[in-house]
């Protein structure tokens, strides 16, 4: 009976805040104009502080103008506003016509130009959150795909209306969910997920909704807004726009200020701390600290504003997305191998190029793919200390500590950019450690690892790049050998879980090794045209795409499992 398997529904959660009008993000949406103005003014002061003299500011404006005109010319995107070129020409003109004889005039004029640029940036960054759109997008995600999934699973179009299966059956949310729900009521959450796929934001949006949490805001790459379907979801789910092409200081300060002020306003936020999708398939090990530093700054300012009273507290929640299949894998790994990640303007030509492709992928994903899981890690404060149910920070012996003390020198809260930068770096390291601890090893992750490492072991004389040039017909692994190593490594992974170094997917614990291996091998990158791992007629294991197998193998990189092969 297929249906009986799904009778036990996944756990459901009530919303922690009943009405949308109480959602912090809705409050932000309502006061969008005021908020953007606040961002503009704060960024303006901050930049003036960083570029003290008119001379330095003028130089910064010229650099920005030069970089922006170059970007408009060399790397235009569909989402760019039509007056982009005109705007920057005007900036150029204004900079050329600065009054040269009167210092006060020059100062006033450069300030005007600066404000104009910041204002343009801030308006572009600011999201366009509308509660009605949110409900709509939410319905599409939860209801629509859920139904689609039913139809296919139950084998008939009628299944579309049976409603037995929901997305919860497909995406398993595990870990510290209650703590997250609880802390979201008493503080501000910064969720930091791993980033493997462009689908991550939608997955996370679903997770946040399923857990009964109000929407989070997050920075989404402006490139995603090129695609109509994504643009719709992004705008609806509380995204603000991050343009990675704009690397000038004025833009970056404005962007950080947006996040900083939102956090100070108690708005739950989501950062992908890896910056971009993992190209190699490895868990992130080097984080981009820019946005994280805004959380540090907001926390310090919260204490400063509280003036000795109780300050709003910010909690970091690491989240690991455990996919068995990443649509972009083939593209990402070639990108990685060609080391193109270093390019100044990276080319956006991956498989997420159209709404149609995404929809067809989603259909496949929800109808045929193996389940995926999302691990919610334990919450911590900005210094990596664990927190109790009331949000108190605890030291290693479980004593309550006041984290205001991290920001004080001689009892006074001080602004110290170098110190807070160091704190942010330490937080980044802690998040990476937590990613590795919370990552869940599934039968397919292990299959990919064992498969690739066995191939590598047979060709120890070859480096990675030569290995990829071997014809795949020559790469066959005897089933018995594969099974022996798989079983051995499975036990080791389970031992590692006891040590708190990794998490193990329930499916990996089944006793029937043959079944386990079969399902593991069959779910490695199932939907790729060239399967990374599969059985041949003799029942041995082969690959049709070693590079992509390497991508999936990398998921278990960094644990030192190689030495057991």
């Amino acid at each position: 009976m297929i249906e009986s398997k799904y009778d036990t529904k996944a756990k459901t959660y009530d919303p922690i805040l009943p009405a949308p009008k109480e959602w912090p993000v809705v409050r932000l949406g309502k006061n969008r104009k005021e908020f953007v103005e606040e961002v503009v003014n704060a960024s303006f002061s901050k930049i003036l502080q960083l570029r003290g003299s008119t001379e330095l500011l003028k130089e910064e404006l010229e650099i920005t103008m030069f970089k922006e005109r170059l970007r408009v010319k060399e790397n235009p995107w569909k989402v760019d506003p039509e007056d982009e070129s005109l705007f920057w020409s005007n900036v150029k003109k204004n900079l050329l016509h600065l009054s040269s004889d009167n210092e006060a005039d020059v100062e006033r004029e450069t300030h005007d130009i600066l404000k104009e640029i910041i204002s343009r940036y801030a308006n572009e960054i600011a999201g366009n959150f509308k509660p009605s759109h949110y409900s709509m997008a939410r319905t599409i995600v939860t209801f629509g795909f859920g139904r689609l999934f039913n139809a296919a699973k139950l084998g008939s179009f009628k299944g579309l209306f049976k409603g037995k299966l929901t997305l919860q059956d497909k995406i398993h949310i595990e870990g510290e969910t209650e703590q997250l729900r609880n802390l979201a009521k008493i503080g501000t959450i910064v969720m930091v997920p791993t980033h493997f796929s462009n689908l991550d934001s939608i997955t996370i949006g679903f997770v946040i909704h399923s857990l009964g949490l109000p929407p989070f805001i997050y920075g989404a790459g402006l490139n995603l807004f090129n695609i109509a379907l994504f643009a719709y979801f992004m705008n609806s789910l509380g995204a603000y726009k991050v343009d990675r092409r704009k690397k000038n200081m004025i833009y970056l300060e404005t962007l950080k200020m947006y996040s900083d002020l939102a956090l100070q306003n108690g708005i739950h936020s989501l950062f992908f701390p890896g910056g971009t999708r993992s190209r190699s398939g490895k868990l992130e090990s080097h984080l981009k600290l820019g946005l994280l530093s805004t959380a540090m700054d907001a926390q310090r300012l919260n204490y400063l504003k509280a003036n000795g009273g109780k300050a709003d507290k910010i909690f970091i929640v690491p989240v690991v997305l455990n996919y068995n299949f990443v649509l972009e894998a083939v593209h990402l790994i070639s990108d990685y191998l060609e080391k193109k990640g270093q390019e100044r303007y990276y080319t956006e030509s991956d498989q997420f190029s159209s709404s149609y492709k995404i929809l067809s992928f989603l259909t496949k994903f929800f109808t045929r793919g193996a389940d995926m899981s999302v691990s919610i890690g334990a919450a911590m404060d900005l210094f990596g200390n664990s927190v109790d149910a009331s949000g108190n920070s605890l030291d290693k012996s479980g004593n309550i500590i006041d984290i205001k003390d991290y920001f004080t020198s001689n009892d006074i809260i001080t602004e110290n950019v170098q110190r807070d930068g160091e704190y942010t770096r330490m937080l980044g390291e802690k998040i990476v450690t937590d990613f590795y601890r919370n990552a869940q090893c599934s039968p397919s992750h292990l299959a990919a690892f064992v498969g690739f490492e066995l191939i590598r072991k047979k060709n120890t004389k070859l480096d990675l790049y030569s290995l990829f040039r071997i014809p795949t017909e020559d790469l066959e692994i005897e089933y018995d050998e594969f099974a022996r190593i798989y079983a051995k490594l499975r036990d080791i992974v389970i031992e590692y879980e006891v040590l708190g170094k990794i998490k193990v997917n329930q499916a990996l614990r089944v006793n029937n090794l043959e079944m386990l291996i079969r399902s593991g091998v069959n779910s490695v990158g199932t939907f790729h045209a060239q399967r990374p791992l599969l059985f041949n007629k003799e029942g041995n294991i082969i690959t049709n795409d070693l590079k992509t197998l390497y991508y999936y193998r990398n998921r278990l990189d960094g644990y030192g499992f190689e030495k057991y092969i």
Partner: protein, 351 residues
């Protein structure tokens, strides 16, 4: 800023009433009030009444205590200066009183080993994760993150006489370096800063190995040519080891590296030098350690570093031969002959 200093950092704590702890307390007392902690109540009582510790007269504004809670409660900046082998247990007792606002700047030139040092035998395999620098111990055992260390050519006896010298305060936090500089700086004592905390800690610890070897050369009746030879080759060995353990070359070329190395390799005042000297004179290691009042950190460091060098497959001939002399009854003469035959080829290949 100078005028406000006394109020800004009043008072500063020092943990450890040995000769260096006492010397640092006196240095600090030029700029601020000091609370000096000793573990042994009788010793604290005795120093409190005599005002003399390790032959050094204590300045008036140094208060003595035997109470860690009192020390941590009164002082937000604390300088732990005790043997490395007792540091972790000190941190375990101290950490309950420490808050995130505390700044710890240690003056300890040794390493912490996971497990018992006595268990470390010929065949034990240890890696970097089994060995911690003192700042790493602080981070592991407490909520304190603003950690630093001080290291340099700072023989306690010479500091006590007010002879001119200098030190490095190293920390990842500029705030800690500045605090250390303000507190320690006098017109007889220069204070430099560095952000390479691990490198400076390793320099301080590793140089003790070479100091023992240098003492042994003198004990063998050899002169300054051989010392110059030893110091420069010892330096290279330190840098190779230091880089593998997480330090940068630069740290070893500064005050805490070459500066301290020259001092301890040439001075009868150095405990580590004395160990080597007496070894070469034929005394056994046990006899030497029993008769010494204070710890020579180099003895333990030789053990730890020899195991690490083995694990990471680094050539460390001086450390290895010293180990054989200290723990395997190799004669210093034979060790020297071995080193003279060792096929060093290139003089400097790390820059």
């Amino acid at each position: 800023m100078g005028m406000a200093l006394k109020n800004t950092y009043n008072p500063v704590g020092v943990i450890g009433i040995g000769s260096f702890g006492t010397a640092v307390s006196n240095l600090l007392s030029n700029n601020t009030d000091v609370i000096l902690y000793g573990r042994n109540p009788e010793q604290v009582e005795e120093v409190r009444s005599s005002r003399i510790s390790n032959n050094q007269r204590l300045n008036k504004n140094i208060e003595l205590t035997n109470d860690l809670e009192y020390l941590a409660g009164r002082c937000s900046i604390i300088f732990p200066i005790i043997p490395a082998s007792t540091f972790r247990s000190l941190m375990k007792s101290l950490s309950q009183y420490l808050k995130p606002y505390h700044i710890l700047i240690h003056g300890i030139k040794g390493l912490d080993l996971k497990g018992e040092l006595s268990d470390l035998t010929e065949d034990t395999v240890i890696s970097r994760s089994d060995v911690k620098t003192m700042s790493e111990v602080v981070l592991e055992e407490s909520v304190v993150v603003r950690v630093g260390c001080l290291a340099g050519p700072n023989l306690a006896d010479e500091l006590a006489q007010g002879q001119p010298s200098a030190t490095v305060v190293a920390s990842r936090f500029n705030e800690v370096i500045l605090a250390g500089q303000k507190l320690l700086r006098t017109d007889r004592f220069q204070v430099y800063g560095s952000n390479d905390l691990i490198g400076i800690e390793l320099s301080g610890a590793l140089k003790n190995i070479i100091a023992i070897a240098s003492g042994a050369l003198t004990g063998l009746g050899l002169g300054e040519n051989s010392r110059g030879f030893l110091i420069s080759r010892g330096m290279v060995e330190m840098i190779y080891l230091g880089k593998v353990l997480g330090g940068n070359t630069q740290a070893f070329l500064g005050l805490a590296g070459i500066g301290d190395l020259v001092t301890t390799c040439s001075s009868q005042l150095s405990r580590n030098f004395t160990v080597g000297y007496r070894l070469a004179k034929g005394e056994s290691l046990d006899t030497i350690t029993e008769s010494m009042e204070e710890t020579a950190e180099g003895i333990n460091t030789v053990k730890v570093i020899r195991s690490l060098a083995k694990y990471y497959k680094i050539r460390a001939p001086i450390t290895e031969k010293l180990y054989d002399v200290m723990f395997e009854d190799l004669s210093p003469d034979t060790a020297l002959q071995y080193l003279m035959k060792y096929p060093f080829n290139v003089d400097i290949d790390f820059l």
